[in-house]
Symmetry: C2
Amino acid sequence: MKAKSVILPADQMPRQWYNILADIKLNPPLGPDGKPLQPEALAPVFPMNLIEQEVSSQRWIDIPEPVLDVLSIWRPGVLTRADRFEKALGTPARIYFKYEGASPPGSHKPNTAIPQAYYNKVFGIENITTETGAGQWGSALAFACSQFGLNCKVFMVRISFDQKPYRKAMMEAWGGQCIASPSTETRAGQAALDKDPDTPGSLGIAISEAVEAAVGDTSGKTRYSLGSVLNHVMLHQTIIGLEAQKQLAMINEYPDIIIGCAGGGSNFAGLAFPFIQDKINGKAIEIYPVEPKACPTLTRSPFVYDHGDTARYTPLLPMHSLGHAFVPAPIHAGGLRYHGMAPTVSQLAHEGIITPQSVSQVDAYKAGVLWARTEGVIPAPETNNALAQVVIEAQKAKEEGKEKVIVFSFSGHGLLDLTGYEKFLSGKLSDYELSDDDMAKSTAVFADFPKPQDLNSR
Amino acid sequence: MKAKSVILPADQMPRQWYNILADIKLNPPLGPDGKPLQPEALAPVFPMNLIEQEVSSQRWIDIPEPVLDVLSIWRPGVLTRADRFEKALGTPARIYFKYEGASPPGSHKPNTAIPQAYYNKVFGIENITTETGAGQWGSALAFACSQFGLNCKVFMVRISFDQKPYRKAMMEAWGGQCIASPSTETRAGQAALDKDPDTPGSLGIAISEAVEAAVGDTSGKTRYSLGSVLNHVMLHQTIIGLEAQKQLAMINEYPDIIIGCAGGGSNFAGLAFPFIQDKINGKAIEIYPVEPKACPTLTRSPFVYDHGDTARYTPLLPMHSLGHAFVPAPIHAGGLRYHGMAPTVSQLAHEGIITPQSVSQVDAYKAGVLWARTEGVIPAPETNNALAQVVIEAQKAKEEGKEKVIVFSFSGHGLLDLTGYEKFLSGKLSDYELSDDDMAKSTAVFADFPKPQDLNSR
């Protein structure tokens, strides 16, 4: 029998992460004074060893042995041929995917949660705070903290907290604490509640709360952790693409097209960045980050300086942003709801090295259901966005009669996010596209902000 | 880095199942007249090709290519060393587990759902009915039916149906239909509702409904499927143990102790039966099926002839049984709630070839939480029963200072069954043991039934 999955032997697991900052340049983050931020200014928020990684431009960074040891619970991940999905689409394309749902919390998020917990531990930190939207990140960090004996406090966007009690139970099973945001524990949370006691919350508010809870602990034993957007997060995720490169080489394949869903950008970056290095070095390869039309950060919003959170605690980052107060319409069922985008991913899009795409949520769930009924695993709502683009490319290949090789990142399974499927299957899911008016309103905040320079990044 | 998991190459996946009926004998199932049932009598319930498999005593049975093809979505499964769990227990024992949570529905159940759907398809069947308690089996069969283009109708015990809306969503994502049992669709369901309109339902009633719905379809295109207990189900699950044997040989290990949780018996049998063949052939090996003290079928109930369902539609099977009307106390949080036990497993226990164990649910969840915080994956409640026994054996090994090799079956992950963890972590889970009085009441039904013979099975 032909193997469905390409297995990378454990002794060939990547020992170094690939740092894209060796190959592109970014506009610097800006402090409250509008000047480039000194790394030390972030010391109350992150441990210094992670800050050093955040600003490093060293191409290859060693993965510490204790991190490899925990990653080995589910890595190396498989690279799998989606032959049943291909057959259902009748496409000559060969579709491969990196499956990230095998991690204990079921998504790619632990790839960075584990090293982040490790570096905090090594730096003497005892408590980590963070926020979570749909719950993937909070679960991943709670799991990671359990591995290194750290306390973990997760501010979970209230609407998700109420709709997904299982996520709280997961975090608690790993010893984490999960509270609804906005909460009365922080000034940012209290302010949001004062404004609207019934607010569903937002990722921006939850980030403000988590940052405040970390910085406000005067013992110095608490830091904050972010699950996407930042350079070191993208770095940690590159293990996905580095594994994929080895696995594709084992079967003598090379991708024509790379696809990943993009909210803050880390799942996309994880698969894509190692291939971007190839592209910069001359390989012909199309690279598509895919986002929902309800939150079209890369495809429609401007490249600006913006804050990462609603209360504007974070530095200004150079990125595509819908505005730090943006909240996607509740009609949008899936994840990928963040207003901004990783500065690295934003810069690559700005320079045309990658080609952002957006898809409708009905198409996304349609692709997800076809996947479940052919390949078996029920995909996470985020993954469905990547899948919708895979369907488009597979159909193009069919029309053109070309045997294209498509490789995409399967960010996680959807077993804890089935509500969207229920809505879709009962015909209650409708399409939603952000209107120009709403976009103009949410991006009006940039008027007085500094503008990023038009860098030639290489 | 040392590999945590032993990977079996795809081309070494077992091509045949091991049939324990080549090595032991069973009392025959009895029909309504009290006489041994002729296989043909089951034809309205199961397709003939599966009935032939049910009564076969051929030692090795080929796995059809289309079945191998679907199994390859997640098989061969890994055999993994639980080194972090060992370390937390401070035991000299080496603990290995076969992880069955990698299947799309997250449990071992698809190992038999896939071949059952396949054999039905080949026989020309278009619709399959079944029942589900916690939802693992219904999800697995819905997934399997989606792979072979069959319609799937699942009668789900009402209390689970209400408490676990996600299970219904899962089945629907795979195109299955899920309805609460008792329902008004069958006479058995209507009778249960007439007796008590607010009944929480039971597995016994749901089986009656599913059997009736299959037999009652006069088109002849509908059959019933059972996820445990029967000989062919045990057969299909042996792929777990056959893989484990190859993987243990790859690392030059052989188990001193085999452990699996037992409800209807199929997860236990899947790992254990191939090793029982070794034991029959002279290997010194302890084999423990583990059940909850709330539903002590093997450890406390008599070896009798009993029906598989409450409405007594099924033949009489020779098994350990708590009585076909038995329903475990609602205080029992996990799965493994079935009143009976696979006749093969029952016979092996009756002859002392395997040694049944029972554990308290608090110990089970305690072991499950320790596992989640060391090995990462949150175990299914059923798996926690096996884990509690693993803890006992690991501690014994520590006391005795012996490097025992323990191999257990990790039946599935618990991401869809987190309520028990919530109760446990908030101190609301208490122990429960079936009282002698309740046991006497539920087993009183056997008074007039025929008795199985005391076979020397070999």
